[in-house]
Each structure stands twice: as structure tokens, then as C-alpha cells.
Amino acid sequence: AQSVSQHNHHVILSEAASLELGCNYSYGGTVNLFWYVQYPGQHLQLLLKYFSGDPLVKGIKGFEAEFIKSKFSFNLRKPSVQWSDTAEYFCAVKGTGANNLFFGTGTRLTVIP
């Protein structure tokens, strides 16, 4: 069965701290991987995606993620967070032949100024 696990439910960081949010998935087949961000009261916005090729992908706002196939992981990183990064972050996976996204339970990031 498909599943996405985000182990950190709530992360609190001070500005300029480094961020790493974990994401592990279970899926029988080739996958596309995504990170979405949801700012308070707003819709889901695509941060970055991995389809194939270089396993280190860079997204918007200084975020990057690394796909490690052997670990079924797609962790999100940012070297120095800002207060404006306060949001909920969702990891999602989609089979390459499938239509829908499977989301993790999300990680709430709070950045303290």
C-alpha cells in the first residue's frame, strides 16, 4: 500500500537555523516526489519536485531536497530559515502511471524571529 511518512509533526526553529524535514515513502513502483508548502490560510503551493535525474533538486525560496532511493526518502532542507518560512510542509508521492497524489501528514514549521 502507498504511504508517506513525515516524522516531525511540529518543528520550531530560530531564524537563520538550518532546516531538515524528513519524508519517507512506501510505493510499489517508480515515483514522482513533491514538497508542497501551505502558508497559514492559504492553498498548497509547489516547492519542488523530483521526477528523474539528479537526486538533489532545488526549489523556490532556497529550499532543496534529496532523493535517496535506497532509503525511500525525500528530505527537505534549507540552510537558513526565515520567519516567513513559517508554514505547513507536505511531502507527496505519485506513481508515474497514476493520477493522484498521496500526501504525508505534514510538518508544521514555526520560525521564531
Binding site: H43, L44, L46, N99, L101, G104
Partner: protein, 111 residues
């Protein structure tokens, strides 16, 4: 750039009433997805349409139905509403069925 438009943004209904949510995809996007996000929950896939035909079905209750029209907009019809249907309903659209772009959502409150 045009985004996915959802209407209404907020909807308040009573139990056993019906509701219709609308979604207008990004122009030239042929695929529409519906997701339900309960309070503090992750979005759960309900149903999707490609070229006006249902393409995939997730955890959509039998009380709900949806369709995609000739202009590619989609409507989610919800009947016999229950308290547990209170949630944020997102629509997403795609042109390649790989990247989904989400609308702002419709927040449904069932009293």
C-alpha cells in the same frame, strides 16, 4: 498567470443539506483533481477527471458525486451533509498529469 479558481471560498450548511463546489482549472489544463483536507489532516484524494471522464477514484463517499464539463470546469456535489464533511476542499489542475496546481480551496462548515 492564471491560477485554479474555486468557488465559493466559504460555505456554511446544515446537516442533511446539499452543497455544490466549483472548480475552474488553469486554462488548457485538461485534468482536475479533488482533495479533502480535514482539520489538522493531510489532503486526501477524492476523485479526478481527465478530458471530462472520471480517471481515478479515491476515498469519495457515495453521497458525493462530481463531473467535469465541456469547458473543463468541475463541480463536486455533496448530499446529505454530515458534520464530518466539514473540511477544506481543494481542487487541483494539471496539463501533464505530473504536476498539480492547487486552488485556494473551499472551506465547508456543516452545522
Amino acid at each position: 498567470a492564471a491560477g485554479v479558481i474555486q468557488s465559493p471560498r466559504h460555505l456554511i450548511k446544515e446537516k442533511r443539506e446539499t452543497a455544490t463546489l466549483k472548480c475552474y482549472p488553469i486554462p488548457r489544463h485538461d485534468t482536475v483533481y479533488w482533495y479533502q483536507q480535514g482539520p489538522g489532516q493531510d489532503p486526501q484524494f477524492l476523485i479526478s477527471f481527465y478530458e471530462k471522464m472520471q480517471s481515478d477514484k479515491g476515498s469519495i463517499p457515495d453521497r458525493f458525486s462530481a463531473q467535469q464539463f465541456s469547458d473543463y470546469h468541475s463541480e463536486l456535489n455533496m448530499s446529505s451533509l454530515e458534520l464530518g464533511d466539514s473540511a477544506l476542499y481543494f481542487c487541483a489542475s494539471s496539463s501533464d498529469r505530473n504536476i498539480q496546481y492547487f486552488g485556494a480551496g473551499t472551506r465547508l462548515s456543516v452545522l
